[in-house]
Symmetry: C2
Subunit: 890 residues, 2 copies
């Protein structure tokens, strides 16, 4: 005979499939000897049998339920429907996978016109008893009888109005009695029958209803969305109710075994004497710290302390425990792993290792890398309630407060005076760099996550919000408005670059914390991980920060930001506007020593750690003034100063800008396509790199630069560019009479490169997957356009599961990465592979990269700690993916 | 003993690998009894033996050569070096694969100070004899002795100057004798030895030199480029020289067995009496038509006629034959398949089938689909020598002459007056449509192959040149200039849209020809091909043309061109500028009957053939005025009429345009992303389609539209849009109380769609590979930008083998197509697949599509005949690729 019903002590935590999550946990707690209110679980098998029998509970199951109920009554000394010691039970669903709020629950079952009086008598609280009864009627009617709660709520509202009450707690026992009479009328009206008074009838109706709820609309949709199989079925848990409001020897509370904010090892929680959970939630009475319980009920407190330690040991994690004391007797209602801040998560994980409770691998898995982000940036105090003025794209994390300025020069001026400013612009250009440097944060009303402002701010670790379209900026009036609110030059605002929120005034902040425990955890991560973590860094300051944050090297050093320096931009423009190759070379000759200085600075900071340098990538027009501004200037000058030299100059400039303008610059003349058409630019850059290497080699350092060619789509491009690099290297070695090593590789950021990686690998020492651009081309999304126009709607409407620019799309982009790695290694088994898109700092993407066999990930310096942890977790979860991977290959 | 040397009659055409192409052909002609000057071939094996022996001819090979030479002397009655009947031979290389001009040849070998006099005596032409001798010295010195020809040419030039001659033919026999003396001095100076007088020494030196030439620099590079293996080696052909200038019973000529211009079956050629090939080339004497030979030498003519028929029969193709008559004896020097015009190719192929010479399949393979293009468009007479003024991108084929206009309204006005005009603009917009319709052709100075002008012109079959940057257009002055040439309004120009050339004045044209033979050939193609050919057509006129050109249906009906109609644009703009969904619906309600009319017209023309309709694809801002023009207008108005209503209106418009503007519109808010965010637009379009279907169904027609969702990248997009289509279909069927069939499919034009085709196929009845966009995203090229900026250089420098927008990139884009088809059919074996990019009309791409298992290709109506032929050729070459393909599935 199949066993369909399990008393709590007959189960354990391994029987989730049969008993559901909740049932298995109640069973586990019962078995380790905790005082859990007694009860039993009807298995998921019974649910399936119910459906197979055409939605009917078989006599066999029914009999087992009645047997279990009998046991329950025996253990509790209470009897369902008894007029002196009535048993009240809760009936709850519980499936294998948590489906919060998707299925139904009935509390206080067993209430009827008789037992309510017994409860009133037992609790000495008639108001509570009748309120519980009317709640039961309402809940039962909703879940079991399918009567819309709206009818009950309308009635309640009318009653309140009639009596002149503003809230439910004002209703007296007598009021509730009246309400109950009318509630029962509603039931009669809808079901043409009286509200069931027989508690056994109530019980079986409720069990049926829970089984039925497995297939209600929202449960079906939830399962489909979360890919939970339909055949699992739900279990039903019947548990005796306990009450914390049976007098001053009763109470209820919640406690964490350790402080969930700081991680400190001390019982942390609160409780209310003579109260139920609902009272705590209602907030009418102020709960006491849990420690007060030791004075109120010392024995109960000691027992609870012991139990909390037992639970922590048993579950090997910090627990969040709900308890009730009924007439001096402690009941544990629920325990689960407690939610905690990042700081607490780290401290608890490390402490538990030191206490011998868990091992290092478990500790590493205990901290969610996503949480770490908040520890690495200044952030708004969580306790502060935010008043959001406007919301844009969260372009660069961190929070900042400052006076609003609308112009880079003003920002620099005030910044130099020691003032904190936030630069607010429609969008930024290379001309604004000095203003960005001087500002605490940047806000733009246009542009997306890869706009100039966003990229520069992320590189500098400054907070930034982009595409905040609600801001109507009036540069002439030096103000911006959001609806009726006007913010003037000099007004103070606070922004949160992690959420995209703009707020008025100054808001309390918390500084980044890099605790000892954090360092300890990361050092364990480094010992564990089998995939390298590098940083994207473009200047000596970022290089320094990268090493501080524990990067193994630089995975992406972009050279275009070096071009955008305010002092260099005129020379860069000269180079672009050159009519001949000769003129261009003259400008490049001026840039050469500057770039060489950049590389020397970076190499010095990196102390011999590897540095991957990407040659110039963006299209030329990014270095020129804005086309539309020029059109306005020229049009104005044509009307006002038609013969001026200024007009001629601007007309000429506009012509060149128009000539270089592109319909789709993202897919235009950039990356190695620049190096192919204007080899002199790449030659200058490569010479600057090798001159720097030569100089440092002379000083006794060993520097092995990895030169990376961007945007390769055909092996012939890489072949040509590789030849260029080798030529210059030989020239420099000849000139300096020395030898140094270097490698030449490519970005894989175009689908065609991944698809033909076998050919491309012939010319490459390494591949670095540029997943930002690869995502753009694989999806056919321009990130700047998509994020402002349709991507948000796609994510909200679940068309896409996640933003593919934040979390790597494994099915599409990931397939190209797998193809790229496998074709590449087919040609060159020793090929080094990495990823340098923003996904390199995202945990799921890092896990994917590890499984795909990449040698390293590279991300913003500020995400390096996160990546180190995520890399360790991936290694723990999946074991060693590739034998050839050694720490050396990181 | 290995046989290294073959007399011509010992070989045949199957021995190409051993004898090389030339040797095998000479052997073949000899064997079928043609009077080929006698000779022998030293095999490629001998070449390899030469290299294996360290560049030495082994005694064994040497002996075989001497034996063959002896045979040659015996047969010709001439002896190498003989002072009365000297044998002169040519020594030529000949490898398996033709490597034109890559290796060396020596003519007139056997000449020395003695034999030259014998030749002078025998020919009665001392000038010829000495000229031949000095040519031999020069050629031998170059090829064998490695003396730079520059030395000989400089000497010849000095001699001409001294003597006051302007050209070589003025030199007398005496002059040549002087030159020879000096030539020999040059040889002595460089080699420190006399010019070799022993003909046998000459012969072996020449053979060595030919062997050596297999590994000269240019031959190695040529082989690498053409992937010819290095180990093949070259054969050497030794053949006795014959002379057509030995008197009036001698002569030389060239003849085609059929007319190479028209295909008419008549011997077509020319000859010169008492002359050598060189004399024909030099052009001093005018050759006679070949028919004159029948009067001059009736017997020789008859023999030649017979031989020409024999050769045609033997090679089963029209032959291009070189012959020489030496003292009344006919020699055939060479025969090869003759080059011919498209018209001739078709006629010859069809005639030969009718004459029983070849079968239909062979006939189909004889015509190059690429050639057909010229027959389907008006074109410039090939005999006219072009004077190109400027060159742009060949955006739409065909040629046209007309008066230059600079504005769409002017174009319409003059067009209505019956004048032929060519519209010249910096670029065109939807506002110019009426002007484009009224014009013969379009020229723009900006934009690429997918610019508005290009797309519209190709759709209309009008000639178009885009991105012709050399044109400096001054719209105010109504003129354009190219360098110093100024073309005014009303001046006549001619353009060739197939080459991109702009020319001054009117140029003679040839009208398109669709001969009876052409129709015949295409009907054979239709019987043969196993892949459907559809047309891209957006309006009833194009639909009609598609059927005329033999399309099986419409593979791509773009709906955006319907929006661009001059009368509709204001309503479309109203729709876009709508602030609310309600306002938008009002505008859409106005568009609904118009779109319905479009579809009715197309369905009617297509007479039940399938029609695939793509819902709106381009981003909204394409329908709005140009942003930069608006900026200029607003700036001007701000200065001149700051309070005008016009300024307010334009400012508002500019704001909306700026709001809709995108950084990379190609990757922006377009395709189904429009339908997802503004479902009301797609709903209107789908309703218009189904209303049209309902109306025609009522009239007794059967119309089964195929509704195509563009730019799908994730299955959820297609799922949602499919639901939208089904909803509207059900609504219309309900309203009309009728049933009709339809299918819903998608474009595969984003890499991610191909990579996840298994999922997408769950929601698709068909896939249509949009290879234009798929090429853009797979390469990361914006076509508009790439073609003007770097793509041309890439192709010229052989970075890319071909323009991937013209010829499908099989390695990259093709791999995605294969992935898409195989994943799609994995989910849905019956999935119909096609291609609708421009590659659908390109022969190599069609061959690839057939091999990839696609059911159809779709291309411009004007390329349909080409595609039908190419589809037949693919079927013949590769057999039936997939069993499931039947004519029905086309």
């Amino acid at each position: 005979m199949t066993k369909f019903v399990y008393l709590f002590h007959e189960g354990n935590s391994n029987m989730r499939e049969l008993l559901g999550g909740k049932g298995a946990n109640l069973a586990e707690m019962t078995n380790i000897g905790l005082p859990v209110p007694f009860g039993f679980t009807i298995s998921t098998q019974a649910c399936n049998a119910y459906y197979e029998a055409g939605k009917e509970i078989s006599p066999e199951v029914k009999e087992q339920i009645e047997d279990a109920l009998y046991e329950l009554e025996r253990k509790t000394g209470k009897i369902l429907g008894d007029q002196n010691q009535p048993l009240l039970v809760s009936v709850r669903s519980g499936s294998v996978f948590s489906m919060p709020g998707m299925m139904d629950t009935v509390l206080n079952l067993g209430m009827n016109d008789q037992t309510v009086e017994a409860i009133a008598h037992l609790t000495g609280n008639a108001r509570f008893a009748y309120d519980s009864y009317r709640r039961f009627i309402q809940m039962f009617s909703d879940v079991v009888l399918q009567i819309d709660v709206y009818h009950f709520e309308r009635l309640l509202e009318e009653t309140r109005e009639q009596k002149g009450y503003t809230a439910d707690p004002e209703l007296t026992a007598e009021d509730w009695k009246e309400v109950i009479i009318k509630y029962k009328e509603i039931v009669k009206e809808h079901t043409k029958q009286d509200f069931p008074q027989d508690p056994k009838e109530q019980l079986f109706l409720a069990i049926n209803a829970v089984f039925d709820s497995w297939n209600n609309q929202r449960a079906i949709i939830y399962r489909r969305l979360n890919k939970i199989p339909d055949h699992l079925g739900t279990a039903v848990n019947i548990q005796s109710m306990v009450f914390g409001n049976m007098g001053n020897d009763s109470g209820t509370g919640v406690a964490f075994t350790r402080n969930p904010s700081t991680g400190e090892k001390i019982l942390y929680g609160e409780y209310l004497i003579n109260a139920q959970g609902e009272d705590v939630v209602a907030g009418i009475r102020t709960p006491q710290p849990i420690q007060v319980l030791s004075k109120d009920m010392p024995k109960v407190y000691d027992q609870f302390l012991q139990i909390s330690q037992l639970l922590e040991q048993h579950y090997q994690d910090m627990q969040d425990i709900e308890f009730t004391v009924e007439r001096g007797k402690l009941f544990i209602l629920q325990t689960r792993n407690g939610k905690r801040t990042a700081q607490a998560a780290i401290r608890i994980a490390v402490d538990m290792v030191n206490e011998g409770i868990i091992d290092q691998q478990t500790a590493l898995l205990r901290v969610d890398p996503d949480q770490l982000n908040q520890l690495l940036h200044r952030r708004i105090d969580d306790s502060y309630e935010r008043q959001q003025l406007a919301k844009g794209l969260p372009a660069s994390p961190g929070a900042a407060t400052g006076q609003v300025v609308f112009d880079a020069d003003e920002a620099e001026q005030l910044g130099n005076e020691g003032k904190k400013v936030i630069l607010v612009r429609p969008e930024t250009t290379p001309d604004d760099i000095h203003g960005i440097i001087a500002s605490q944060a940047i806000v733009t009303s246009r542009g997306g996550m890869t706009s100039h402002a966003a990229v520069v701010a992320r590189g500098m670790g400054k907070a930034c919000i982009c595409g905040c379209e609600a801001l109507k900026i009036d540069l002439d009036a030096k103000q911006f408005s959001v609806g009726n609110t006007i913010v003037h030059y000099g007004d103070v605002i606070t922004i949160d670059g992690s959420t995209g929120e703009v707020m008025l005034g100054e808001i309390p902040m918390i500084d980044p914390q890099l605790s000892e425990e954090f360092q300890q955890l990361l050092s364990w991560a480094d010992e564990t991980r089998q995939i390298g973590v590098r940083a994207n860094a473009d200047n000596p300051a970022d290089a320094k920060k990268s090493l501080e944050f524990g990067a193994d090297g630089i995975g992406l050093c972009r050279t275009e930001h070096m071009f955008m320096d305010i002092k260099r931009i005129p020379i860069v423009q000269e180079m672009i506007l050159a009519e001949t190759s000769e003129e261009r070379k003259q400008a490049l000759d001026q840039l050469l020593p500057m770039q060489q200085g950049d590389f020397e600075g970076i190499f010095l900071e990196m102390k011999g750690h590897p540095v991957t340098i990407r040659l110039l990538d963006p299209p030329m027009h990014e270095f020129l003034p804005d086309k539309e501004d020029l059109i306005v200037d020229v049009t104005k000058l044509q009307l006002t100063e038609p013969n001026s030299a200024e007009l001629k100059r601007k007309e000429k400039l506009l012509k060149k800008v128009q000539q270089l303008a592109e319909f789709n610059p993202m897919l235009g003349h950039r990356g190695c396509r620049l190096g192919m058409i204007y080899p002199e630019i790449y030659e200058m850059q490569v010479r600057a790199i090798f001159n720097a290497v030569a100089k440092l080699t002379e000083q006794g350092m060993t520097v092995t630069p990895e030169i990376m060619i961007p945007l390769v789509g055909h092996v012939n491009e890489l072949k040509r560019m590789r030849e260029l690099v080798i030529n210059i290297a030989n020239q420099v070695m000849g000139e300096q009479s020395m030898h140094f090593d270097y490698t030449v590789g490519t970005m894989i950021e175009i689908p065609r490169a991944a698809l033909t990686a076998d050919e491309i690998a012939e010319q490459a020492d390494f591949f670095s997957f540029g997943t930002n651009d690869l995502t753009q081309t694989t999806f056919g999304y321009s990130r700047d356009d998509a994020e402002g126009k349709f991507l948000q709607a796609y994510i909200e409407q679940k068309v896409l599961p996640e933003n593919p620019f934040a979390v790597l799309d494994q099915q599409g982009v990931g397939k190209l990465i797998q193809t790229g790695v496998s074709l590449g290694r087919q040609t060159k088994p020793s090929l080094k592979t990495g990823i340098c898109g923003e996904h390199g700092g995202e945990k799921k993407s890092i896990e994917f990269c590890y499984q795909a066999g990449l040698n390293y990930v590279s991300c913003s310096p500020y995400r390096v700690p996160l990546a180190r942890l995520a890399a360790a977790q991936a290694t723990i979860k999946h074991g060693i993916v590739k034998e050839q991977m050694t720490v050396a290959s990181k």
